[in-house]
């Protein structure tokens, strides 16, 4: 609606450097503290994907409902994914769109392509 002519202010390199240093320090500190904790309490894994997701998954792809359907709009294709979250102790999924070029969906895409070949 409105075109504003405005030179983008350049980011001050000193600020950038300072910021990066702080951020790295935080990452480092986060990792270290996690490792400390783990010595005390080792991790266990309970990462089962709820079966109903698979069941309702691309096996029903004939209906065109739950497959990797891509959104055409908004420049660049988008892929619908399910985000697995825990609400209390219950597993839940939420739908979300992520860009087709995101590395997360590359693996699945390749696999699908391979299946198509077969």
């Amino acid at each position: 609606e409105v075109a504003v002519r405005k030179k983008r202010t350049e980011v001050d390199p000193a600020e950038m450097e300072d910021f990066d240093r702080e951020m790295k320090a935080m990452m480092q500190e986060s990792l270290e503290s996690r490792k400390q904790e783990l010595r005390v309490r080792p991790a266990t894994i309970n990462m089962m994907i709820p079966m109903n997701i698979f069941e309702g998954g691309h096996r029903e792809s004939e209906s065109g409902e739950e497959t990797l359907d891509e959104e055409p709009d908004g420049g660049g294709s988008k892929v619908r994914v399910k985000v697995l979250v825990k609400k209390g102790n219950k597993q839940q999924t939420k739908q979300m769109y992520i860009p087709g070029e995101c590395s997360l969906v590359q693996g699945v895409k390749e696999k699908e392509a391979a299946e198509m070949e077969e």
């Binding site: 910021f19 951020m23 990462m47 698979f54 990797l68 399910k82 697995l84």
Partner: protein, 820 residues
Amino acid sequence: EETEDGYEDEKGGFVEHACRYCGIHNPACVVRCNIPSCRKWFCNSRGNTSGSHIVNHLVRAKHKEVCLHKDSPLGETILECYNCGCRNVFLLGFISAKTDNVVVLLCREPCLSVNALKDMNWDLSQWCPLIDDRCFLPWLVKVPSEQEQLRARQISAQQINKVEELWKTNPDASLEDLEKPGVDDEPMSVAIKYEDAYQYQNVFAPLIKLEADYDKMMKESQSKDNLTVRWDVGLNKKRIAYFVFPKEDNELRLVAGDELRLRYPGDSTHPAWQSVGHVIKLTAQEEVALELRASQGVPVDLSHGFSVDFVWKSTSFDRMQSAMKTFAVDETSVSGYIYHHLLGHEVEHQVVRNPLPRRFGAPGLPELNASQVLAVKSVLQKPVSLIQGPPGTGKTVTSAAIVYHMAKQGQGQVLVCAPSNVAVDQLAEKMSATGLKVVRLCAKSREAISSPVEHLTLHYQVRHLDNTDKSELHKLQLLKDEQGELSSGDEKKYKALKRATEREILQSADVLCCTCVGAGDPRLSNFRFRQVLIDESTQSTEPECLIPLVLGVKQVVLVGDHCQLGPVIMCKKAARAGLAQSLFERLVLLGVKPFRLQVQYRMHPSLSEFPSNCFYEGTLQNGVTINERQMTGIDFPWPVPNHPMFFYVQMGQEEISASGTSYLNRTEASNVEKLVTTFLRSGVVPSQIGVITPYEGQRAYIVNYMSRNGALRQQLYKEIEVASVDSFQGREKDYIILSCVRSNEHQGIGFLNDPRRLNVALTRARYGIVILGNPKVLSKQPLWNSLLTHYKEHECLVEGPLNNLKQSMVQFQKPKKMYN
């Protein structure tokens, strides 16, 4: 503050989930810091920094947890590792299932590195960190659009660091607190351009606060004791108290609509009593008519010993502050184009694509001249325009024609404002003449004040709506008028009915008009106006001008004349910082060329010559002829009959007035009386004459002197208006006498130094002008020097008795450096 009718008077709320750095509040773009002591929201835009705002905050504050907005795709969710519940966003990232489109958040340490995962269906090769390139994953938390970012507060890395530092000791501090000047600091000065509306607000808010504080202090110190009151009852059965409010030599003038508290201290036979009321009238004898709110227990049998205080209201200042806030936080308050334009950003030229009418005049208005037609035409095609209307060039007619065509474009209702009630009334009358449905909205405190356009006012229309459905409201109104008040149930019903009727009438109008401050009336808060015209805009401060604009404006027309007087600012500090500069003027400084109306219909051509050359680059043309400005049957001793003007040389001394704060000049005053008498004798009537003097001391002295020493009937002199330059702005008289007062070789000429004031003083007269002053003193100032030279060249610089005026040979002084 709640008004009488239960409307909220404050609007424009703060959005809770707005980014605390930049104000962006699109739910898809913000996350909340989840540290209990913090809980602030930040957006995912980088602005002018290397990291996004949320990442900046987390790093600078050393906070590590966030929560998504409830309207985001994942809903209100604290981001945490699916497996272990770790909430440290610097460790979190997404992985996807090997065979399916399922993704999950997992922490890097330890969950991602646990071997057990490898056996499951998860693809560990593609771990996608939540924070990448100093920014949250843009598909989880959207990056605001370029448009949104440009309209947001432009915060710098330094400011971020500073405010983060401040939050460590004061978590509720705002960015404004960073800029707040100390108590004794000079306030920040106004600029021509602003980074964003927050910076704009940072500059203006303290100035408005200063002015408000000063106004409050001054008005509340205006207590007067030992007043004598005379009682009356108004048509609406309300009590009216009449009394003289002695005006000392200071800046405060009472105006209709002011609120005063009348008190009686009590005595042996009467209890103490007080009531507030509104000034509904100021009589020519400087008597105040105060309509009291309470009608019971008024001690009407008493007349002496009353006191009165000023009840200061912050409403107008509150509305300015609120408008600036709305301008900053509400992106629908004004169009994107206007937002950037007002802040001085470079915006691509925009054309308004509304169909142009075939004729630019409007029914019921005088035929437009060529420059008026061009003005109307150019305005209709531009989103922002300035119209400069020099004295007498018909800017009200032009404004009315513009509004007429805007209203016919079908863009919704047009809002028309001006800083003063007088100007709003004039416009309302003209616009109504075109056949448009005009509603004039008055402040509640002014409803009892008579107005030339009463039939257009909302309160009048509510009372006189000819509709049987409204009979219930009418019945209640009659009851209320009779009894003074209603039962609480009836009062409730009455208010609801009244509100509904008001809304209905407002909605049915083509044009709404009110003062700039009136546009902040809660009764308009649900209205949107795409097209707004502000007349006399050069007489209002920027924040005042903003009030009518933030109701959704897409096309704005500012009418005014920056070569005449600007807004009156009482607080010197605020004035020095630039509060007196109008938005119109700033836009001119930004390169917006005002469209100038060029034909004047007021002044005798001899009177317009100097102002045209001096203030308008000689562009002012005369729409009236010498013959049309020759009063038949008036025999006045003009030195040059074809030039009804002269500079009457005065050598009398100036004196400090009794109050010690103003000046007077006795010789000039006595010559003013002689001039007035000569005018009256020659057949001019008192209402045709205006006496202008810049000093209150001289004003009071002249009024007094004329009524005591006038050669004719006292009453005639009482009817002559004697006032300051400022109070003559926007008006005209057939004959003007200007008494300059200052006559001191060693001091300045005070008020007269302002070229805009001189312009106003010189352009009030239609038929003739007489200036009284000391050329020796005035000629030091370059502008006055050229005025004196102009009069001298026309043989109009004279001295001696009025019946024997002779050209003066007084020597001028060399003017000091040029006034720009």
